[in-house]
C-alpha cells in the first residue's frame, strides 16, 4: 500500500480521502463549520455508524464551537463531546478504525486526524445458541459483534487478572482477534505458545474462528477436535477459570478455547446446571451413545458375515428371515443405508425450514418402510443404522470423528469380522493416546493413572466435592 500523507489543507485531505475510497458510495463526508470559523470534515461509512452520536457529539459541538481554529488535540479533548476520541498518527490504525465504523475528522490547518468511536451497526441480540441449548442455566450466547462478546465474558469474571490481548490477523480482512486468559491461572507457556502460533500464520482473511482453529490446532488432520468451540460465555468463563485460554474472533460468535481434551467432548452445559445425579446419568448415556454410534453397525456386519454363531438362535432366525431376498451383502447394505442417513442429515441441514419437514417425511419413508418393503434393505439393518444415527447425535462435538470411525470400523468388520473391529479400535486408542492439545495429553483424566482426581472426567463430582482451583493439568502432565 503506497504511503498516504495528509496535509494541513482540509480540501486536499477531503479529495485524498475521496480518491482512496473512490467507487465506494457508502462513504459520507460531512462538512461542518461554526459561525466563528472552525471548519471540519467528518468521514464515516453509512450504515456502520451511530447517526445520533455523530449529530450530537460531533456535528453539534463543532457548529456551536467558539474556536476559530483548533489543533487535533483541542478538537479531540475540548470540542468533541464523546467518550472515545483520539488523535491518530498511524495510518494503519486510522484506516482500521475507520473501516470498522469509527468517524475520522479533519480540521482546517491540521494534518493529523481525530478518530471518534461512533460504531453503530445492526446487531443480533445475545440469544441462546441453537446448537448449545440448555434445560436450565444461563441462556446468553455470543454474537458476531466483538466488544459485546468480551463484555459477556467480563460480566462473568469480575477478576482483575482477566486479560484481553488484541491482535490483528488477515492481510485483507485485518480481523481483530482477542486472546483472553486469567493471568496467574493460565500458564504463561500456554499463552506464549498460542501467541507464537498466531504470529506464524499469515492468512488473507479470517471470517470465522474456524479459519484460525484449523491453522493453529494440533493434529490438524485428525477428526477429533483439539481446540474447543463454544458460543456460550458461561462455558468460556468456566474454561478460563480452569486455566485455559480463549480466542475470540471478530465477526464470529464461536469462541475457541485451548487446550481441549477428549473428556470435554462428552461434557454438556447442562452437566453443571442440573443436579449431579441427573447430570452423571446423562453423561453415561452420552458415553454409551458414542460407543454405540461407532460400533453398532460394525458389530452387526461382523456378526452377520462372520460370527452368526454368536447371535442367539431365535434372533438369528428373525434376522435371516428379514434378510431373505435382500440383494446386497450385509456390509454393502449397511454402508448404503449409512450413506442415505448422512445424505438425509446433510439435506436436512441445508434445506430451508418449510421444506425440511417434507424432507424428513420422505427421508423417513425411504430409510424405513419403503426400503424394507421393497427388499432393498433388511429391517434389522435399518434399525442398526437408525441406532447409529440417533446415538451419533448425542455427542455433537464428536460427530465428525464418529462418522469416520463408523465407516472405518465398518470396513474393518466387513473384511475381518470382530477381529478387524478389535484391531481397528486398538489402533484408534493408540492414536488417541498419542494425541495432545497444546502440550496436554488428549486423553488426560480418561486413562487410569495413580494420583489423579477424576472430578470431572467420566462423571462430574458434586459441587461440594469439587476443588475451587480445578486446573486441567498439572505441570508434570505436560507432553514434551
Amino acid at each position: 500500500m503506497e504511503e498516504i500523507v495528509f496535509t494541513t489543507n482540509l480540501e486536499q485531505n477531503i479529495r485524498l480521502m475521496q480518491e482512496i475510497f473512490q467507487g465506494d458510495n457508502t462513504l459520507v463526508v460531512r462538512r461542518a463549520q461554526s459561525p466563528h470559523g472552525l471548519t471540519c470534515a467528518a468521514f464515516f461509512f453509512d450504515g456502520m455508524v451511530n447517526g445520533i452520536a455523530i449529530n450530537q457529539s460531533i456535528v453539534r459541538p463543532i457548529v456551536s464551537s467558539t474556536f476559530r481554529r483548533a489543533t487535533a488535540e483541542e478538537l479531540a479533548q475540548t470540542i468533541l463531546q464523546i467518550n472515545d476520541s483520539r488523535v491518530e498518527t498511524d495510518n494503519n490504525k486510522l484506516f482500521a478504525s475507520f473501516l470498522y465504523g469509527d468517524t475520522v475528522i479533519f480540521t482546517e490547518g491540521e494534518s493529523r486526524p481525530v478518530v471518534v468511536n461512533t460504531k453503530g451497526f445492526a446487531l443480533r441480540s445475545a440469544s441462546e445458541p441453537e446448537n448449545e441449548r440448555v434445560l436450565s442455566g444461563p441462556r446468553e450466547g455470543f454474537t458476531e459483534c466483538f466488544m459485546p462478546n468480551l463484555a459477556l465474558i467480563r460480566r462473568r469474571l469480575n477478576d482483575k487478572r482477566l486479560k484481553f490481548t488484541f491482535l490483528r490477523i488477515g492481510t485483507r480482512t485485518n480481523t481483530v482477534v482477542c486472546l483472553c486468559y486469567l493471568d496467574g491461572v493460565c500458564e504463561h507457556k500456554l499463552i506464549g505458545e498460542i501467541k507464537k502460533r498466531l504470529s506464524q500464520i499469515d492468512p488473507d482473511s479470517i471470517l470465522d474462528s474456524n479459519y484460525l482453529s484449523e491453522r493453529i490446532r494440533d493434529h490438524r488432520w485428525s477428526p477429533f477436535p483439539t481446540m474447543g468451540t463454544t458460543e456460550r460465555p458461561d462455558v468460556v468463563a468456566a474454561r478460563l477459570v480452569e486455566g485455559r485460554c480463549a480466542i475470540i474472533v471478530d465477526g464470529s460468535p464461536v469462541v475457541l478455547t485451548a487446550p481441549y481434551l477428549l473428556q470435554e467432548c462428552f461434557q454438556s452445559n447442562d452437566d453443571y446446571y442440573v443436579n449431579f445425579l441427573q447430570a452423571n446419568l446423562s453423561r453415561i448415556l452420552r458415553l454409551t451413545g458414542f460407543v454405540f454410534s461407532v460400533c453398532v453397525p460394525a458389530v452387526y456386519v461382523a456378526l452377520m458375515l462372520y460370527h452368526r454363531e454368536l447371535v442367539p438362535a431365535r434372533l438369528l432366525f428373525a434376522v435371516s428371515a428379514a434378510q431373505r431376498g435382500v440383494p446386497l451383502p450385509s456390509g454393502w447394505e449397511t454402508l448404503l443405508m449409512l450413506f442415505v442417513l448422512e445424505a438425509l442429515k446433510e439435506a436436512g441441514a441445508r434445506t430451508p425450514g418449510a421444506m425440511g419437514q417434507t424432507m424428513s417425511i420422505v427421508g423417513g419413508l425411504v430409510l424405513g418402510q419403503a426400503a424394507v418393503s421393497a427388499r432393498f434393505a433388511a429391517a434389522p439393518t435399518v434399525i442398526v443404522v437408525a441406532i447409529a444415527g440417533v446415538t451419533g447425535l448425542m455427542v455433537p462435538k464428536l460427530q465428525t470423528a464418529a462418522l469416520y470411525l463408523r465407516f472405518g470400523l465398518l470396513a474393518a468388520a466387513a473384511a475381518y469380522g470382530l477381529y478387524g473391529v478389535g484391531i481397528a479400535m486398538a489402533l484408534v486408542l493408540a492414536w488417541l493416546c498419542n494425541m495432545h492439545s497444546f502440550s496436554i495429553p488428549y486423553l488426560l483424566n480418561l486413562v487410569p493413572r495413580v494420583g489423579i482426581e477424576h472430578e470431572d472426567a467420566y462423571l462430574r463430582a458434586p459441587w461440594f466435592f469439587m476443588r475451587h482451583d480445578r486446573f486441567p493439568v498439572k505441570k508434570e502432565d505436560r507432553h514434551h
Binding site: 438369528l316 435371516s320 451383502p329 454393502w332
Partner: protein, 208 residues
Amino acid sequence: MKRLLFALSLLLLCGCAREVSPVSGLALDRIGDQYRMTAEIVRQDSLDAAAAPAYLSATGRDLPELLRGIERVLGNELYLDHAQVLLIDEEVASDGILELADYLCQHEDMRLSLRIAVVRGGDAAALMQQDDEVFALSDLLDLAAEQHTLPDMPLYRVTEVLHADGTAILPALKIDEFKQIAPAGVAVFANEKLSCYLDGDMEDGLDA
C-alpha cells in the same frame, strides 16, 4: 482415489452373503447297514411369520456322507451352529456312540452344548417330527435337566465321561400314548454302548 475406492470395494465384498439354513436338531437312525440322518431346518419367511421346522433326510455310511447328502438335497450349506439336539435311535446307541461324540466334538460348527438323547423304542426321525415347534425338544430337555427328571448331559460332558471309562448316562425320550414326546428314563451306556434303561425320577443324584 481410484485405488482407495477399489480397496474399499474389496474390503466390503469380503464375507459371504450366504443365505443360511439353520439346523435346530438332528436325528440319526440305523436303516439296515446304513444310517439315515434327518435334519430339522428352521424356516422363517418373514419377520411376522413364526419360525417353522422343515425336515430333510439323507442316507449314508458315515456322518460326513450324511451331512453332505442333506446339503445336496437342500442345495445350500447346512448351518449347524445353532443345532441344539441330536436324537439317536436304540440301534445307533447299541453300536456305540464314542466315535459319533468325537466326530461332533471336532466338527467346527457344532456346539459343545448340543444335547444327545436316545429315542426309546422307536424312530428318532419320527420323534423329532412329532412336534412342529422349533426348539421344542431342546426346551423339553433343558427343563427336564433343570428339574432333575433327566440327566443334564451336553456333548462335551458325554465325550468326557465316555473317554474316562466308557460309561455314560443319556436322557431317553419316547412318544407316549397321547402321541406326545415324553421323558422315558435314563439310557445307561457301558463300554460306550447302550446297556439298559433306568426308569423313575432322577432326584436321587443320578444326574451327572
